[in-house]
Amino acid sequence: MHTDIFYIQVLRAGVRCGIRLQSSSTATASATASSSSPAPPLGFSFELTDQQKEFQQLARRFAREEIIPVAPAYDKSGEYPFPIIKKAWELGLVNGHIPQEYGGMGLSSFDSCLITEELAYGCTGMQTAMEANSLGQMPVIIAGSDAQKKKYLGRLTEEPLMCAYCVTEPGAGSDVAGIKTRAVKMGDEYVVNGQKMWITNGGKANWYFLLARTNSDPKCSASKAFTGFIVDADTPGIQIGRKVAAGATGLAQRALDEATSYALERKTFGKVIAEHQAVSFLLAEMAMKVELARMAYQRAAWEVDQGRRNTYYASIAKAFAGDIANQVASDAVQIFGGNGFNSEYPVEKLMRDAKIYQIYEGTAQIQRLIIAREHLGRAKK
C-alpha cells in the first residue's frame, strides 16, 4: 500500500515542521460515496457496494479492452504509454485520491485499491505510471497549503498531466534519512543540488515532489532535517536521467487466469494438463495466494479509510503480495512449460514485472523490519 508506506516516510523523514496530517479525509469521502449498502448485521462484511462494483467493472473493462491489447507492444518498445494514460485520465481512473474540492474524485483508499488491482491485471507497467501520480500527489494532499493544492492538484485534474515523486537517490533508497540532495535558502529562493534516481514518470512529469535536506547539521533529527518541495518541471537546471500490494495482486490474478486457461487447453498424456494432479495442485496453491493477498490489501485499505494508522496491515499486505506475485508468476511460466519462456505468451512478462514488487515502495526486507517492529511494539505494551 504505497500511500501508507509514504505516510511512514513522512513521519520519519519529516516533511516540514508543524503540519496537520489529514488521513481522515479519505475516511469521510468513503462514508459519503459508498453508503449505498445497508450496514451488514454481522459487522464484518466482504460485500462491495454497488458503486464499488461499478468502479471495479469500469476498471476491469478498461484493462481488458484498452490495456491488454497494447501492453506487449509497449513492453517491447519501452515507449511511454501516454495515449492509454490519457484515456484512463478521461475516464477518471487516474487521480482518484485528489479531494473533490480540488477537482478530483476523493476516493477512499479501498476504492482506489480496487481500481489499481484491475488496472494491474492489464499491465503493471502502465498501472505503475498511473499510480506514480498518486505518489507524487500524496505529500501535497496530506501537507500542502490550500493554495498549493489548488495550483498543483488542480493542474492534474484539468489536463492529463503527470507528476513524479523524487526521493530515492543513487546512494539512498531504503535509507531515506541518508539522502544527500541539499536545498539552501538564498534570499527569496531555494537552491537545490543533488541527484535523484528511479523516478517513475520522471521524463513526463509536469511537476515533482522533491525531498531534500535543508538542515545540514548532522545532529539534527531526521524529522526536522528534511523539507518537501514542489518543483515545476520547467525549472531551469533540472536534468531528467513507483498502491503496490493491490498492483501485485492484479498481476498475480492475471498470472493465475492465464495459467488456468492454458491448463484447460493444453493436452499431454491424453488429457488436459489441468487434470494432472501436479498441475492442479500448483493452480490450487496459486489461487490460495491470490485470494489471501487480496484480503490483505483490502484490510489494509479499509483500516486507512476507518481513519486508523494502518502501517502494520499495509506492510503485511505489501510484503505478502510482492512475494506471492513472484511465486505465482513463476508458477504460471512453469505451467506454460516451454511456451512460458516465449514472449508470444503473456506469462514471461508477468514474471519480469513481478520482481519490482519486492523492491520498490519499501523492499521486502524493509517490510519485514516494519512488521517486526509493529508486532513487537504491540507485544511490549
Binding site: Q51, E54, F55, F62, L91, G92
Partner: protein, 237 residues
Amino acid sequence: MSGRVLVGVKRVIDYAVKIRVKPDNTGVVTDGVKHSMNPFCEIAVEEAVKLKEKKLIKEVVAVSCGPQQSQETIRTALAMGADRGIHVDVSGKDYENLGPLQVSKILAALAKQEDAQLILLGKQAIDDDCNQTGQMTAALLDWPQGTFASEVSLEGDKINLVREIDGGLEHIKINTPAVITADLRLNTPRYATLPNIMKAKKKKIVTVKPADLGVDVTSRLEVLKVEEPPQRQAGRV
C-alpha cells in the same frame, strides 16, 4: 414536441460467458452467471446521449423490464448519460416467459405516458435474437419505424436514417414520433466515466408494475424444451 427519448435496455447474459443448458432442459443456467446490458442496447443508449449532447433532444429515459437486478442495467445507462430510469418490475415465471410482444405493449404504454418523441432500442437481444420488439412497438403505436439503423440524423420533425439491409444500405426519411432500432455500426458506446458513475447514483429510478400500465404479461408461448446444438463433428480435409 416533448424532446423526450425512451431507450429500452435489456439485462442479458454477458456476451463473453460460455452458455450452459440446465440439466432439466427447461432453459439456460443464469444463477451466478455474469449479466450485462445487451450490446445493441448500449449502442441505443449511446445514440440517445449523443442526440442530447447535440441538444436535439431534451431528456433520455432508460427503461428495463425484469426483476430487481434490471436496475443495475438502468444504472449503467444512467452512468452513460441517461437522465432517469423506469424499472418495470417483472419477476419469477412472468419474467421467464417475458417476450417481445409483452415488452412492446409495455413500451407502447410508457411512450404514451411519458409523451415520448422517439423510442430507441437495440435491433435484437443477444439471448433470444428475436429482433421483434422494435417492430411490434411501432405497430402498436402506429408509428414509423427505422430498424437496423447505422446512421441517424434529425431534420426538423423528420428523421433521416440509413439502414443496413441484406442488399446494402437503404436511405429513408420518416416522421416523428418514431421507433428506431440500433445496428452494430451506428456508434461506439462510451465507457461510463468514474465521475458519471458517481453522479448516476443521484439520478432517479422509478419502479412500476405492468398492471399499472394496463398490460397483461401472460405469454401465449410455451417453451417445451431447451437443448444444446449437436456437437460438431471433426471435419475431413
